[in-house]
């Protein structure tokens, strides 16, 4: 009887949930925060954050990824991979049209991958480096031919990472300076209408969207509000309903969370995988000896940094890879990353390595550069100065504006250590290799191997990691990678950043994609 009753309840719950799922209301305008104002709207040339907030609503990828990381068909309906992993056949969706009415075909896919992403996209040359040829036997089939298996490629088909762009508006032009940049024409659920500089970007519903009944919203407006306190006030006032990537600072988010009409989530960043870290100059200056870098990693109280500076949002790093790679069995916890720090052990390590303290308790002096992306990082710098002082490293902090800082670290290599954060992205090949490989010592390129760390043994492992289709063998390879990096530590990982999305609870259906704020919002709706 009890079971029957339970079954009855479950049935009611199911009915109610399906009823709720049907209750989406069409219409309304969603205003959300875009911070800062993007430089252009060319998401096929730049992976800049604010562009990512806007453009996946206009351009679409071949696939999206749900919160469990599963591939969701978008412009591609399905794919098939050959046994050797070197041929991938995509079946494309029919009846998809660009916003200007022209049909979307396999020629657009071929052009986008080979002529756009592989040539001008910051990460595309890496994601699609094994793609040598794309065959298009008909309008709705694209066959990718790879030189080597590229398992990571299948993680980079989202609208943010690899947007499909219209060939007929780019062909025969210089892709980087084409006028499409500021007048985007995509296949997505929303059409670009206007960009009022300093105010907003307006996107209106695509009435001819290929998925019947979507999108629900009539309009999406991305607003630019330079002042953080005003952004918070606009959120409180309901003038904006969605703010991702810490547009509302943590200090305000923890306060707003208490309100009934506002929610806070850390979901929607698993494909980005941001990691806070310190890069060291391993060629010249005080940190050439790995023993010192290990001692610094040992001394730092990661838990304290997360709790005190980032209001509890973050996870202590336990190796060179983010713990989000546990999903693909690539992550392994390593020594030298103690969660709460061990100053005594760090001091002992430095003593053993022969760095004696002078009369003032100072072993060495160094300058710490700080990423100029906000107050939190300055406070992180102040904490690091203090903890390094405890182990006899007297630190001076240096805080410059973005261009000066980039030039110093990535052009001139004129730094000793640098607080930074890197996106590890959905696969180590895409986000982590660039930090350690010898071939990633590329003077003048930003966010690559600025430590100038070079280790042939590691290079060989990274190479096999990128070509190995067998999951178990990949796990073993990356375990070795993490062991080497835990010893040499050209980069000391601090903690996995957890970005916050603050949203008005009236906004529903905007949280189903692993891309989070970089998603399409096609199923978003407003519940008045």
């Amino acid at each position: 009887m009890n079971n029957i009753f339970k079954g009855f309840l479950v049935a009611i719950a199911l009915m109610m949930s399906s009823f709720a799922a049907k209750a989406q209301e069409a219409g309304g305008t969603l205003a959300f925060l875009v911070q800062p104002e993007p430089p252009t709207l060319a998401s096929y040339v730049s992976t800049s954050g604010p562009i990512g907030l806007v453009m996946p609503k206009v351009y679409e990828g071949l696939f999206d990824y749900d919160n469990d990381g599963k591939m969701v068909p978008m412009l591609a309906e399905s794919y098939e991979m050959s046994a050797d992993g070197k041929t991938v056949t995509f079946k494309l969706r029919k009846n998809v049209r660009w916003h200007d009415g022209k049909p979307f075909t396999s020629a657009d896919v071929k052009f986008t991958i080979l002529e756009v992403l592989k040539k001008v996209h910051p990460r595309g040359p890496n994601s699609f480096r094994e793609v040598s040829r794309i065959d298009t036997p008909d309008d709705h089939t694209a066959i990718f031919h790879l030189d080597n298996p590229a398992p990571y490629m299948m993680r980079s088909f989202s609208a943010y990472e690899s947007p499909m762009v219209p060939m007929h508006l780019l062909e025969g032009q210089d892709v980087k300076s084409a006028s499409l940049a500021n007048n985007p024409v995509g296949t997505g659920p929303f059409k670009f209408v206007e960009w009022k500089k300093g105010q907003y970007i307006r996107l209106d519903k695509n009435e001819d969207y290929w998925q019947e009944g979507l999108p629900y919203l009539d309009r999406i407006v991305g607003r630019f509000i330079p002042d953080a306190s005003t952004r918070t006030a606009a959120m409180e006032n309901g003038e904006v309903m969605y703010a991702a990537y810490n547009a509302i600072p943590n200090i305000d988010a923890v306060r707003l969370k208490e309100r009934d009409d506002i929610g806070v989530t850390t979901d929607g960043y698993s494909m980005i995988n941001p990691m806070a870290l310190i890069e060291f100059n391993t060629i010249e200056g005080p940190f050439v000896d790995p023993a010192i870098r290990r001692a610094i990693s040992t001394a730092i109280d990661r838990r304290f940094m997360i709790d005190t500076i980032f209001f509890g949002y973050g996870k202590p790093a336990t190796s060179a890879l983010s713990s989000n790679f546990k999903a693909t069995n690539l992550h392994a916890a390593m020594p030298n990353y103690p969660e709460t720090g061990d100053v005594a052990a760090a001091n002992a390590m430095l003593d053993a390595a022969g760095y004696a303290k002078d009369a003032n308790g100072v072993r060495m002096r160094a300058v710490l550069d700080i990423i100029p992306y906000g107050e939190d990082w300055r406070r992180a710098g102040e904490y690091l100065k203090q903890v390094m002082g405890d182990i006899g490293i007297e630190v001076e902090l240096r805080y410059e504006d973005v261009p000066t800082w980039l030039k110093r670290v990535y052009h001139n290599y004129d730094f000793e250590m640098n607080i930074n954060y890197f996106y590890q992205l959905p696969d180590p090949v895409l986000g982590v290799h660039r930090h350690y490989g010898t071939n990633q010592i590329r003077q003048g390129t930003h966010f690559v191997n600025s430590s100038r760390y070079s280790n042939p043994e590691l290079d060989a492992l990274l190479d096999s990691g990128s070509k190995e289709p067998d999951a178990a063998k990949r796990t073993a390879t990356y375990k070795e990678v993490q062991e080497i990096l835990a010893q040499d530590m050209p980069v000391v990982n601090l903690f996995e950043l957890e970005f916050l999305t603050v949203y008005n609870t009236q906004l529903k259906g905007a949280y189903g994609s692993a891309m989070g704020a970089y998603g399409s919002f096609r199923e978003a709706w407003l519940d008045d």
Partner: protein, 328 residues
């Protein structure tokens, strides 16, 4: 020579004098801005996540940043002379288009602020001087002192807390309601509602300044010989104040207002930032960090031209207020 043709000649002469001044400002700014490390390409590539050195070199060539500085300056000057302010590679738009787009919001904020600040400043200063050492004078003086001493951004945020969050009278920020996108007169009304808080915030600071200046200036004039003469003639206090003293007392206030128009363009950065008002101040501020030098130089050019023009207007107002001052 008639008075109007005199004024015309004067204006022409001053405008001609302004040209070398503007050129000098452009040249000095050009070198000053180039002293900063890093360029627009660094910023663009940094924001993009990563870019190859070849790509960056290509961009530099495209932007003309690979040329030696004197060549870049010559190219820029040549364009300026032909009234072409150049191209902002960051925004992928002509500089003049960007500036014009952002000039109207700035002008709106500037004009309403000046009217409010100068108008009320004169009124309050006058009132305080007429009621010297009474409670009215004390209240006005203390009010001026407090508004002068309070940081603008704090006033702005408090305005938002009180009038937007608690009372719900005005929106927190922006220039238009983006959920509605009004048209016609509704749009004018919508913009006016959005203008209230930024204008009051920005006015308060200047209001205090003009109030104190007007009060001091009035008191100074009251002590002049011509006031004694007027009293001896048997004129009413009212007539003395409004016809004789007021006109003379206005001169320093008008001077100050003229000087501050230039400062208002730049000085509104804080207010523009707090209220997300799409003005030139924010644009200049952002382009500095983006090393968008063409755009910055364009904004500087515009504001220096504006200062010259406003000062010219002030000089003409002088001669109207006090016929003894002649334009020459």
């Amino acid at each position: 020579m008639t008075r109007s043709s005199k004024i015309f000649k004067f204006v022409l002469k001053r405008l001609l004098q302004g040209i070398p001044i503007i050129l000098a400002i452009v040249i000095i700014n050009f070198f000053l801005l180039n002293l900063a490390d890093g360029d627009a390409v660094d910023v663009l590539a940094g924001e993009a996540g990563s870019a190859t050195p070849e790509y960056m070199a290509e961009l530099r060539a495209k932007f003309g940043l690979d040329q030696p500085l004197p060549v870049q300056l010559m190219v820029y000057l040549k364009n300026v002379v032909m009234l072409d302010l150049g191209y902002s590679f960051r925004h992928d738009m002509p500089v003049s288009e960007l500036i014009v787009d952002r000039f109207w919001p700035t002008a709106l904020l500037m004009v309403s602020t000046i009217i409010l600040a100068v108008g009320f400043g004169i009124l309050l200063g006058l009132l305080a001087a007429m009621r010297l050492n009474t409670w009215k004078d004390a209240v006005i003086t203390v009010f001026a002192l407090i508004t002068y001493a309070t940081p603008l951004f704090w006033v702005g945020l408090m305005m938002i807390v009180v009038f937007s969050l608690n009372l719900g009278w005005f929106p927190t920020s922006g220039m238009e309601n983006v959920a509605a996108f009004y048209e016609g007169w509704d749009r004018v009304k919508d913009i006016a509602v959005h203008l209230v808080l930024p204008t009051i915030t920005l006015s308060l600071f200047y209001l205090a300044l003009y109030t104190r200046m007007m009060r001091a200036s009035m008191l100074e004039q009251y002590g002049q010989d011509y006031v004694i003469t007027a009293r001896a003639k048997g004129l009413t206090e009212r007539r003395i104040t409004f016809v004789h003293v007021l006109r003379n007392a206005l001169l320093p206030v008008v001077t100050m207002a003229g000087v501050q128009v230039g400062a208002l363009i730049g000085g509104s950065v804080i207010v523009e930032s707090v209220f997300a008002w799409p003005g030139l101040g924010m644009l200049a501020f952002e382009s500095l960090f983006a090393r968008d030098l063409n755009l910055l130089l364009g904004i500087f050019l515009l504001s220096s031209a504006l200062v010259i023009v406003v000062n010219l207007i002030v000089d003409i107002i002088y001669s109207l207020l006090d016929p003894r001052i002649e334009v020459s």
